[in-house]
């Protein structure tokens, strides 16, 4: 009686049914902010299936996604429900090495943006050069979309982008992209 069913109770900030082929809210996920010295990342290479020895603003993709957002900062994304397991794995792998691991599974919301117009839609509010020369697949960076901060991960050349933003900004980011997508409705 006291326990609520966790799966049913995890109420996402965006309605997963609001997906279109071009813009789709992503399912809940496990996320961590992992911080450590650059040397530590070089030394350990990867941890818990997350590859860390990446150049800044690059990501290793897959079910355990690691995006290096700065010299000492990684965003880790895995499937929902893996929080405790990953926490334990990272803690044992890093041991006494100076690091910080903070659960941000619920802080962020993910959106998938894909299709031939994806870059143009993002460029309605993102000031970065999204050409494949400047931001090839496997790139990941924090940036802006309109008035919201996002993390932009270029996953593949479909192209597919993953947009991560803070929970309360998700309706704005979603709405902004939907508005931008209207430009291509008839085209």
């Amino acid at each position: 009686m006291l326990e609520i069913a966790k799966e049913a109770a995890r109420a996402a900030a965006l309605d997963p049914d609001a997906a279109t082929p071009a813009i789709a809210p992503m399912p809940p996920a496990t996320r961590f902010a992992l911080r450590m010295r650059p040397e530590t990342a070089t030394e350990i290479g990867s941890v818990a299936g997350f590859q860390l020895d990446l150049p800044i603003n690059r990501a290793s993709l897959g079910p355990r996604l690691a995006a290096r957002l700065g010299p000492n900062e990684w965003l880790l994304i895995a499937e929902d429900g893996e929080t405790e397991a990953i926490e334990a794995e990272i803690a044992s792998a890093l041991g006494e090495r100076f690091h910080a691991l903070v659960d941000i599974s619920h802080r962020n919301v993910g959106l998938s943006v894909r299709g031939a117009q994806a870059a143009d839609m993002l460029n309605a509010g993102c000031p970065l050069d999204l050409s494949t020369d400047a931001l090839p697949a496997g790139s990941a960076t924090r940036t802006l979309l309109g008035k919201a901060e996002i993390v932009l991960i270029h996953e593949d050349d479909a192209p597919t982008y993953r947009v991560e933003c803070w929970r309360s900004f998700a309706p704005y980011v979603h709405g902004f992209l939907q508005e931008a997508a209207r430009d291509f409705d008839g085209g």
Partner: protein, 94 residues
């Protein structure tokens, strides 16, 4: 809008950054040992030069690192940027 060379991320548009004013104004190691005048100068006095200026920038909507850049305040040309703790490679005033 400036195009600012973040030492970690490369050229990025100004709206991703937050300015932090004049660079190389070190916080006194022992503030309590500093007299009122010197403390006021640390807090409030800035050179505001016409020409080359070293200034602090934070790539707030990017890698979130603080760094320094040499900017010509007349032309807005940014000559170089460098990480905290580093010195400019040349031409810098401090």
């Amino acid at each position: 809008m400036l195009l600012i060379p973040c030492p970690y991320c490369g050229d990025r548009p100004e709206i991703e950054f937050r300015g932090g004013g004049e660079a190389h104004i070190a916080r006194p190691r022992d503030p309590q040992a500093v007299d009122d005048q010197a403390w006021a100068e640390f807090l409030f006095y800035r050179t505001n030069p016409k020409g080359l200026m070293a200034e602090r920038w934070n790539h707030a909507h990017g890698c979130q690192r603080w760094f320094n850049a040499l900017r010509d305040t007349v032309s807005d040309r940014i000559l170089e940027s460098y990480r905290m703790g580093e010195k400019p490679s040349g031409g810098g005033s401090s």
